[in-house]
Amino acid sequence: MKVGITLNINGDMYEALVGANQTLLEVLRDKFGLMGTKRGCDLGACGACTVLVDGEAHLSCIMLAVDAVDREIVTIEGLGTRTGLHPLQKAFVEKGALQCGFCTPGMIMTAKSALDEDPHPTEEAIKKKMAGNLCRCTGYTKIVEAVMSVAENEEGGV
C-alpha cells in the first residue's frame, strides 16, 4: 500500500506516493531526481548514500523514506549554489580529493556533519568519522587534506 508523504529536502517541500518499503535513497533518486546522492553497496557499508538528517550524517540506503517525514534532509544538491561552491566542495576540487567522483557526495556530506559537530577536529578524529566512506580511487590522503584545510580555515560553522 502506498502512502502520501511530504519531505523537507534542502529547504523545499517534496510530495510523493511511496511504499513503506522504499528507502530514502530510492525516493531521493527515483521520485525526486536528486541524483547527487549515490547508490553504492546499498547495504549501509560504503557511505556513498550519506545525507544529512536533522544535521547528522545518515545512510539513506538503510533508512525508510516514511521515517524521514518531519525531519530536515540535506543532500549534496543543498550545498553551495549554482555560482558558488560550498567551502568543502571547493577544497575537494583544489586539493584533488576526487578522481571518479562517485564517493564524493557522501564524503562531503559526512565531512560537513563532522565539521558541524566539531569545527576544529584533529586529523585522527576526521579519519575516524570518515572511515565509513569508502573511496576506491584516491587513497584517502587528499580527502583528509581537503577536509582539514576547511577545518583550519573555518571560522564558525561550515
Binding site: A20, N21, E56, L59, L64, V66, D67, G132
Partner: protein, 325 residues
Amino acid sequence: MRLPKFEYFEPATVDEASSILLDRPGAKILAGGTDLLVNMKHRVETPAVLVNIKKIPNLSYVRSENGGLAIGALTRLKKVFGHPDVADRAGALAGAASSVGSYHHQTMGTLGGNVLQQTRCKFFNQSKWWRSSRPLCYKAGGEMCYVVNKKETCFSSYCGDVAPALLVLDASATLSGANGTRSVKLSELYSGEGRKPLQIKLEETLTEITIPAESLRGISVYRKVANRESIDFPIVGAAVWASFDKKEYRVAYTAVDRKPVRALKAEELLNGEDLNDALLDEAAALAAKEATPVKSSLYAPSYKRKMMGTLLKTSLRELMGRAGQ
C-alpha cells in the same frame, strides 16, 4: 536492492506497540534499522509487519538514577558515548558504543537495537544469490547448520560490541509488554541458541538499560580485534571491569559464542588477588576456554581463543596503568 514488502506501523506509545506485536505474529520492531534493514535486503529476515518505535517519545535519554545510570533504549549510540557520565564513569560502554560500525551507524543505531541485534554467520549474512548455491541454512529457514554440519542447530555468533560492556557493568534491561514492565539481568536476554538468540516475549519492547552505582565505582575498558578497526564487526571483543580497591574483576566477550559470555572462571581466579604477569597469563589461558568459538566467520576458532587471552591481558594492563597499580 529493494526491501521486501511489509505492513508498517508507527505506534505513539509502548502499549500501542505491544498490542500491534501481539495482534500480528511475525511483526518486528524497527529502531535504528542498521541491522534489521540490511538483513531484510538480504532476505534473511522478512517480517510481514514492521513496528517503528522511534516515534514513541521519552525513550532517548541518559540520566543518573540512585547513583547509577539509566539509559533509554532509543538513545543513539553517538549520544551514549558522547554523554559525559558515560564517558567518565562507564569507560567500557563508551568504548564499545564508539567502536560500533562507522560514524553513520553510531548516528543512526540505538543502544537497544545494538543490544538486541541478530547473531551473525558467514552462511547467513549473505545475499540471496550467494545463498542460492546450496539449500538454506537452519537459521535462514533450512535444515542444516553448515558451520558444524549438523541438522536443526545454529551456531551463528553474537557480535554486538555493546553487550559485553554492559555485562561487566552488571547492567539490567527493562522490558515493557502487555502485562506491565519487568527488569532482567542483561545476560537473561540471550538464549544461547543461534536461530532464536533472544529470550524476549513476543509483545515486549526493550525500553531502558540500567547500570548500578556499584559498577560505576570501578574502571572499565572495551577492546576489540577487527579486520578494519574503524568500521567492522569484532573478530573478538572483550570488556574488562576492575575495582582495584576491592580486588574484584569482571571479564566478558563478544563474537566468540552464540551469546555474549562472561569469563567466570577467569574472574574467580583473579578476584581477591593483586595482579601480576604470571596471574594474567594464567587468567588469559583460562578465559580462552570459556567460550566455544566455531568457524562462523572467516577467522579460525583457535585464533579467536588466542585473541581472547591477549585482549584480557592488554585490557587489564591498561586498567592497571590507569589505576596506578
